[in-house]
Subunit: 135 residues, 4 copies
């Protein structure tokens, strides 16, 4: 499943080069996966209330073109891997049809109380199976 | 008591105007009061472990001159008011002798478990009395 | 004129207290005034292209209630003062009907090339007159 | 050449999981390479004044262990590749001897006026040759 969310570049996200600072794209990715989860029926806030946390294990971003203040961007998020206790997302940040940044993040599911790895919620596997990603 | 801490402007703290974004000064103030507390023997981390939280009730900043990437700034922090369950800090951000930004924050002390107002730690009043601020 | 814009709290905007960090509200205010300007027909990006910059002279925030991850907030922005070369905005951040944070910012208009004060664009005064704020 | 810089985790850098948000490590890396450049005699601010810009082409972070508010971290930065118009840095973020996060960034050198690729400053190659990295 691919989900798209739009966001507008804030002034504070630009830096003295006049473009969006590289670190802010990881926040855009975060928005992307939260909205992906919501679209799949899994509020991340609810996940946390049930004691599941998703910790970031790895993040990669490739910057192809700069984004500027006030640009309206699309963050396209895709679930690219789903295992018992981990999952990966792929991201494409676009301005219109133009690809600006791509990336991926890998996450582990943990029990928020003990910090130990924990099986992802079953509801996610329903989606994964639907998409042929369940492993 | 006045405490000074130095910090260097990070690239990501600047915005497209080429200067430090106005919001980042509230983070600088946060650094200032954490270091003020440490200098007074009260680690904010320890306060939280003991169940005290300081919530920001009000923040004010007056921007006189811009700061630029790589500037070495001094954050001068002063306890300006100390009551049973609240306290205020005043801040001056300087580059050398030049005053860039001034500000103040007002904080309430809460019990982190209940969220209710709670008396500030006694150790703080020792400092306040020392400074003639205990009320 | 009052303009409202909605935004959703990002995970990275929360801090270890589990609530939106105080500094991030100044970014929310920034979003509010950019959208106020857009609604009034004055893109801030266009203003900058024409050589006008709005520098923040003062910012104040009063924090009444915390906001949490994933809350959908409304930033209500109002032009509260309009002078030859300066203007002020008032802000109210709400969750539904509940007021979380209020604030105001004061801005000076400068020539981006020289850094010197400059008259605000005439189009703004059309709005100001409309609202009875032109001074 | 390897350069180390210390920084202390700010409250605003933590998120509701009680740990430093994943995006903030890219800012820590940014601090690391700015200090690496300074230690090598090349102020990034000076580079920009001479019209050179370093744009981030790729960034990768691997998160092994969380960092908490007030932790004193070491950012260890190493030049890992140096070409005519691009260079790479490797990073290790430590708390004491404990490795928390590792990463790398790839940068292109551009002419800040034209935005076109530009040869890196000669002074950098002196360092590269010294380290056996000049290619």
């Amino acid at each position: 499943m691919i989900h798209e969310v739009k966001l507008r570049v804030r002034y504070g996200e630009t830096d003295a080069q006049g473009i969006v600072n590289n670190a802010d794209y990881l926040s855009y990715f975060e928005v992307g996966r939260v909205e992906w989860l919501r679209a799949s029926g899994l509020s991340y806030r609810e996940l946390e209330k049930e004691g599941h946390g998703l910790v970031v294990v790895e993040a990669l971003a490739r910057y192809k073109r700069p984004a500027f203040f006030d640009d309206e961007l699309t963050v396209r998020t895709e679930l690219t891997e789903l295992k018992r206790a981990s999952l990966s997302f792929g991201y494409t940040v676009l301005r219109g049809e133009e690809v600006l940044v791509t990336g991926r993040t890998l996450h582990g599911c943990v029990d928020l109380t003990t910090g130990k790895p924990r099986r992802l919620p079953a509801a996610l596997f329903a989606w994964g199976a639907h998409c042929g990603d369940d492993s």
